[in-house]
Symmetry: C2
Subunit: 129 residues, 2 copies
DNA sequence: TTTACCGTTTACGTTAACGTAAACTTGAGC
DNA sequence: GCTCAAGTTTACGTTAACGTAAACGGTAAA
């Protein structure tokens, strides 16, 4: 069965971005859809790459960093040396993500405190009536 | 006892940024150190704000978003209406941060898989000898 | 056939978050 | 008194990640 394909506006609306954004990612080499005549045709792999890019962006990664991570997924690695270097890069990214998770947890803790203060202030105001 | 203060380069080196960055934050109204003559003097509150800004930046927040969050911490809120609106904003931020945490967890999962593949490939190569 | 979309390329514009450089002041140490 | 490091202001430069506009091609419905 033929693989499912997507038009550029399919993906744009699915992911809530503009077609310009997707073409821009192509300019930068992040996706390489095939063409049907003039029109771009995206396959499942393209779609996944875009999804990964947008996930990266949500946590503040640059497009170049997104590429770095995505490239880790395809095995251009043959020998032991390359495998070790890949593992090292994985560790670097992991450290970064774990730092980010700590940052987010701190942020959430702060929000909890603010909310608790708000609610106790509201309770007090309510009790005053 | 007088509050502890910091020079601009104190904070710059503590946080690993340039003095330009800190002055830029002042231009944008994110910090307002007092002056001793010509020189800027930062107090503990200023220092904490900068710390919060940089934490926000690490998870991809814009400076404006950092201000939004930081502003939630000081109580400019008196009446019940303002308290409810603040709680609503807290919920919005919370949702965003939780999404980010999910994104990070997915990223880490991906890294785990890559590393596992690398290690099993290395084990296989080792066994082949 | 005309209208209405969807798609395309090309190209200039925009915003955030600083970098960088120049020119000047000021207090500390020699 | 001179130097030197650390500070200041002013101002133009830079990069990433698209936005926006113009001008055009294909096709499907009215």
């Amino acid at each position: 069965m033929p693989e499912k394909t997507y038009s550029i506006s399919d993906l744009a609306s699915e992911f809530g971005v503009t077609t310009r954004t997707i073409r821009f990612y192509e300019e930068k080499g992040l996706v390489t859809p095939r063409r049907e005549g003039q029109k771009r045709l995206y396959n499942q792999a393209d779609r996944v790459r875009i999804k990964l890019i947008l996930r990266g962006k949500r946590i503040g990664m640059t497009l170049d960093e997104c590429v770095e991570v995505i490239d880790m997924y395809d095995p251009e690695h043959n020998n032991a040396e390359q495998l070790h270097s890949l593992i090292a890069r994985v560790q670097d990214k992991r450290a970064r993500f774990e730092q980010q998770r700590r940052d987010i947890d701190e942020m959430l803790k702060g929000l909890d405190e603010v909310q608790a203060l708000c609610e106790s202030a509201l309770a007090e105001a309510g009790a005053a009536n």
